[in-house]
């Protein structure tokens, strides 16, 4: 028997301005599953993640986190279950890399409580995992785009939530760090966590995800196990772009046909 789902979407319709129709989403995300969300620009991948995180209200239906409607969770308890990696990092102020990672301990501390030595150690371990230990005292505003993205991943790790929602986790990263970022997600999932990733790279998604959700420009959607979703005609319809399908060492690869 399957374990209880972390996340359950019940007749969920996202609230996207100027879109009248939209097929309701109905699926469950279980521990050990990694869901890739694919779709063209502006189709609502970010909106979906924000809705699932409880930061936006859906037009219809609701997401359930561990069986309870997301809006009924207290914000702090929710943040201990669910961590979000945003597409853009905001930092108008010159905080240090370590200070920034430490802020992710917020849901685990009472409002007036200071960070304990364990919190510091945890933040340092996360930075080490993302190869940022040498930049610990650097000011975040001086980091490169890729370093900032790795810091955001280190923050995610520091938050220690079992469910991760990631909006384009490979943004700004070079090829090596793209792979290691997704290895990090894979490890998290294999250790009993679950993830949902909005992505643009079909090939990386097919290598690292267990399930895929395709969001079509007309508001319809389909979802399922990765192998059932990686169909040439479906992907061509998804991106409105002719594609080439290759098989290499047992893996499917898709490229735009130019």
């Amino acid at each position: 028997m399957k374990s209880a789902p972390f996340l359950e979407l019940k007749d969920l319709v996202m609230d996207i301005p100027n879109r009248t129709s939209g097929s309701p989403l109905n699926f469950q995300v279980h521990p050990g599953e990694c869901w890739g969300v694919l779709g063209p620009n502006g189709v609502g991948k970010t909106t979906l993640l924000l809705t699932l995180a409880g930061l936006l209200n859906p037009r219809q239906g609701k997401p359930l986190l561990k069986g309870q409607a997301i809006q009924q969770w207290s914000a702090r308890a929710r943040a201990r279950q669910l961590a979000v990696l945003f597409q853009q990092q905001q930092d108008a102020f010159p905080a240090s890399v370590l200070e920034t990672a430490l802020t992710s301990r917020h849901p685990h501390l009472k409002v007036w409580q200071r960070e304990t030595p364990e919190d510091w150690a945890l933040a340092r371990r996360s930075l080490l995992r993302l190869e940022l230990q040498a930049l610990e005292q650097r000011c975040v505003t001086t980091l490169s785009g890729g370093e900032r993205q790795r810091l955001a991943l280190a923050c995610l790790l520091t938050q220690q939530a079992p469910l991760w929602l990631l909006d384009e986790p490979t943004n700004h990263l070079d090829l090596h760090h793209q792979v290691s970022a997704l290895e990090l997600v894979k490890q998290h999932v294999e250790a009993g966590g679950a993830s949902l990733l909005a992505m643009h790279d079909v090939n990386l998604a097919s290598r690292f995800c267990t399930h895929l959700l395709l969001l079509y420009p007309d508001g319809s959607a389909c979802w399922g196990q990765k192998d059932q979703m990686l169909v040439l005609s479906a992907l061509e319809k998804l991106y409105q772009q002719p594609l080439t399908r290759l098989e290499h060492q047992g893996h499917l690869l898709f490229f735009p046909r130019i």
Binding site: L50, A53, L55, S74, A75, R76, A77, R78, A79, R80, L82, A83, V84, F86, Q89, Q90, D91, A92, F93, P94, A95, S96, L98, E99, T100, L102, T103, S104, H106, P107, L109, V111, W112, Q113, R114, E115, Q137, Q159
Partner: protein, 324 residues
């Protein structure tokens, strides 16, 4: 890192004490530490007694509290608007206060009325900005900033209008008020009470304020009640600014310069930054006011002129340093 920060904070304490002492002893009449000690023991020159206890002590204490209030209010506004260039007046609060004060001056009301109507003006301005930014349903830093800036220029027009129609004998008093002046500071109890109250409220919230610097969405996803905390920050900053402006007029640059300079020293942790702002802002204004009293003694300058004269080059220097 953090221990180092606290050591720096302790260094600010003797600095503040030194500033207060300088403010007490230096002026158009110099008082030596020995003479001041005699006054404290109930002896000494009666002139020194009047100068120290009745004139300088209340003024120096008021200056310290006002400086601390402005610096913290500036740091909070910068945090709220996610803009390091914000200052306590950026949302038009000083304009509202000035309009209230000038109206009272124009109608020939006494000093208490001037203070009272300045406070009411500041409050009206605060509620207008808050209400207008909230009304749109979509509360974000940019909208708040634009609402404040537009309202501030509205107040500016009102002030110019009143200056234009005022009888010329009222003008010096009005100008002094607009530039910020501690000569008419009415009591130091209110600003001190506000300063201590705000520090007491903010100290346990320091870590949450650090989280807010990562943006409202990220803070919300980390489990913070963002609208509630932002509302609290705004109201506290507005209250502090209103009290400061009521006591001393619109003194510029303290709220912009002090948080900036301290961030270079202390980094970004609000738990260190806010108490440091109180100590450094207070010291700066006491010293500036001492200069304002002594530079052209016996004539007194409005302290706002001094803070601007120090503030402009200091700020430009900080900016050029940051670029390298």
């Amino acid at each position: 890192m953090s221990h180092q920060g606290y050591r720096l904070l302790y260094w600010l304490l003797p600095l503040a004490a030194l500033a207060l002492l300088t403010g007490l002893l230096v002026g158009s009449v110099q008082i030596s530490p020995g003479e001041a000690w005699a006054v404290l023991n109930g002896q000494g020159d009666p002139l020194h007694q009047t100068l120290l206890l009745e004139l300088r002590l209340p003024r120096v204490l008021a200056a310290f509290a006002v400086g601390g209030l402005l610096a913290i209010a500036g740091a909070l506004m910068q945090l709220l608007l996610r803009n390091p260039l914000a200052d306590p007046y950026v949302l038009g609060l000083s304009g509202g206060a000035a309009t209230g004060a000038l109206l009272a001056l124009l109608s020939g009301a006494g000093a208490i009325w001037v203070s009272g109507s300045a406070f009411i003006g500041a409050l009206v301005s605060t509620l207008l900005v808050f209400g207008l930014a909230r009304l749109s349903g979509n509360w974000n830093p940019l909208r708040l900033l634009l609402t404040g800036v537009v309202l501030a220029s509205g107040w500016g027009a009102m002030i110019s209008f009143m200056l234009a129609v005022s009888p010329s004998r009222e003008l010096p008093g009005m100008l002094y008020w607009l530039m910020g002046d501690l000569a008419y500071a009415q009591g130091f109890a209110l600003p001190w009470f506000t300063l201590l109250l705000v520090l007491l409220i903010l100290q346990p919230l320091g870590r949450s304020l650090n989280v807010l610097s990562r943006g409202s969405l990220q803070a919300a996803s980390l489990g913070m009640a963002v609208p509630r905390v932002e509302g609290l920050i705004y109201l506290l900053a507005a209250l502090m600014t209103a009290v400061a402006v009521t006591v001393a007029g619109s003194i510029g640059f303290v709220g912009l310069l002090v948080p900036h300079a301290l961030r270079l020293l202390f980094g970004y942790d609000q738990r260190l930054l806010l108490p440091a702002c109180a100590l450094a802002g207070g010291s700066l204004l006491v010293l500036a006011d001492t200069l304002a009293r002594t530079l052209l003694a016996p004539q007194q300058l409005p302290v706002g002129v001094i803070t601007a004269l120090i503030g402009v080059p200091a700020f430009l220097w900080l900016l050029s340093r940051r670029a390298t």
